[in-house]
Amino acid sequence: MKNQIPEGVLHAKTHEWVRLRDGVATIGISDHAQHELTDVVFVELPAAGRVVQAGAACAVVESVKTASDVYAPVSGEVTAVNAQLARHPELVNSDPYGEGWFFQVKLSRPAELNGLLKPADYAREIGGQV
């Protein structure tokens, strides 16, 4: 299966993505990650107001088979979470870069973005074609 990696989205090596718009970073997991997990049945999100640290576990995504940690790709305060995922965790599978987003943070260290992978680099990371 071909992985869809949208333009302008940055990835962590641990398969989370970040999209920056007007100083707000939206975070989710990659199409590759959802494909590896399959059948997402539950997503545990950080509470709004919580401060997450880049590289630290801050959410859990559960498939039928396993629970997997999701690591914050950037540091900052959680300003919003995707409440839809409580009722429709399958959005993570069907639309990982859109409706299946996890949460938003107000960046506390914007320079961390420089350490993330651009689409072509992430494609290489997961062994796909650019």
């Binding site: 399959t38 559960e62 088979k65």
Partner: protein
């Protein structure tokens, strides 16, 4: 290096995701656990169970020996009939749970768990060495010589006889009764077809010489495709068996857990005479046990329960009362389900409990087994 079944190449070709399962490189899923689970509940699924062990016990003292080492009564079997049974140690703890078939008089086929093949063979040989009529028993571990498939689902009976030539006793495999087996000749070799399974659906298990197992897999896949047959992996096998509360060795059963504690007393024939573990099992049946296997369902939206999560009592004086042995999100019910051991006084159906999930308590309810019933 992991063990591989005769179907390893077939799994790779189908794009299966392979995992280490008790030292075996096995397919956990092909199209996805939920998709495969639904195929088995509504149409049919084909599982590679070649990793399971085959032990053949022959001889005039074979029934007597097996009735000594196994808990169920082998004398209930006629030729080409099978039964679920357990093998216990002196403490009544389960060495394994297995199926035993009486292929013919004085010839028995034991189908044992992959993870227990060596433990079982060692235990059986040790017991045989101490068995008075050991000269009249021939015990062979033929696990490496056989492959096996499980064809499971409500449509399986519609095409099983299109896959194999008809034979005798019975002429059609589709007319086999539950737990009965038929012997068939296929490509000049004998294969066994039994009406058994581990999914809660109707279905068949096919045991065949390893060399012809891939041919049989391909044949069944081809004939079954128009009926909605899909290859199914160990992931779906686990969710299917958990929904119907079948124990999995290493989860619900181990050498320190007895069949009585696991609520499998119906497979322990206390009336058949002396057998290994009987004193403990009879005592437990009469006086009760310290723990009892229960099934539970999530009572609120929560992450799925998983093995080893603590089980807590509900109410004001909360305390930990047990541990989850199997747990998952039920694809059929759409909620978290599981099994676990709790003290018998806390095991009543409809009791409120809590499952500790990452430090938080999620409400659950003890419910009668099975958690899911077909139809």
């Amino acid at each position: 290096m992991l063990n591989r079944t005769p179907l390893f190449a077939a799994h790779q070709k189908l794009g299966a995701r392979l995992i280490d399962f008790g030292g075996w490189e096995m397919p956990v899923q092909y199209s996805g656990i939920v998709d495969e689970h639904r195929a088995v509940r509504t149409a049919a699924g084909l599982f590679d169970i070649s990793h399971m062990g085959e032990i053949v016990v022959r001889g005039s003292a074979a029934p007597e020996f097996l009735n000594w080492v196994l808990t169920n009564d082998i004398r209930k079997l006629q030729n080409r009939q099978g039964q679920y049974t357990l093998m216990c140690n002196e403490r009544g703890g389960a060495i394994d749970d297995l199926y035993v078939y009486q292929v013919e008089a004085e010839e028995y086929l034991l189908i044992v768990n992959a993870s227990r093949i060596s433990a079982d063979a060692a235990w059986l040989n040790q017991q045989l060495a101490a068995f008075p009529r050991r000269q009249a028993v021939d015990l062979k571990n033929l696990s490496a010589d056989f492959g096996a498939l499980a064809l499971q689902g409500p449509k399986a009976a519609q095409f099983i006889d299109l896959c194999f030539p008809s034979g005798s006793e019975p002429a059609l495999a589709g007319t086999l009764r539950k737990n009965d087996m038929a012997r068939r000749e296929y490509q000049g070799r004998f294969i066994f077809i039994s009406r058994t399974g581990y999914t809660g659906e109707d279905g068949f298990e096919i045991v065949a010489p390893a060399e012809i197992t891939p041919t049989i897999w391909n044949k069944v896949m081809e004939i079954g495709a128009p009926f909605g047959l899909k290859p199914a992996g160990l992931g779906a096998r686990d969710t299917l068996r958990t929904e119907v509360c079948y124990p999995l060795y290493g989860h619900e059963l181990d050498e320190n857990t007895t069949p009585i504690e696991a609520c499998l007393g119906v497979f322990v024939a206390l009336g058949k005479g002396e057998f290994m573990g009987r004193p403990v099992l009879a005592e437990q049946k009469a006086r009760g046990t310290a723990k009892k296997l229960v099934a539970f369902k999530s009572a609120e939206k929560s992450p799925p329960p998983r093995p080893h999560y603590p089980i807590w009592s509900a109410g004001p004086a909360r305390r930990q009362i047990g541990q989850v042995t199997s747990g998952t999100q039920s694809p059929s019910l759409g909620i978290g389900i599981g099994m676990g051991y709790v003290p018998p006084e806390m095991a009543a159906s409809n009791s409120a409990i809590a499952i500790e999930i990452r430090g938080k308590h999620a409400a659950a309810t003890i419910v009668p087994k099975p958690l899911y019933r077909k139809g």
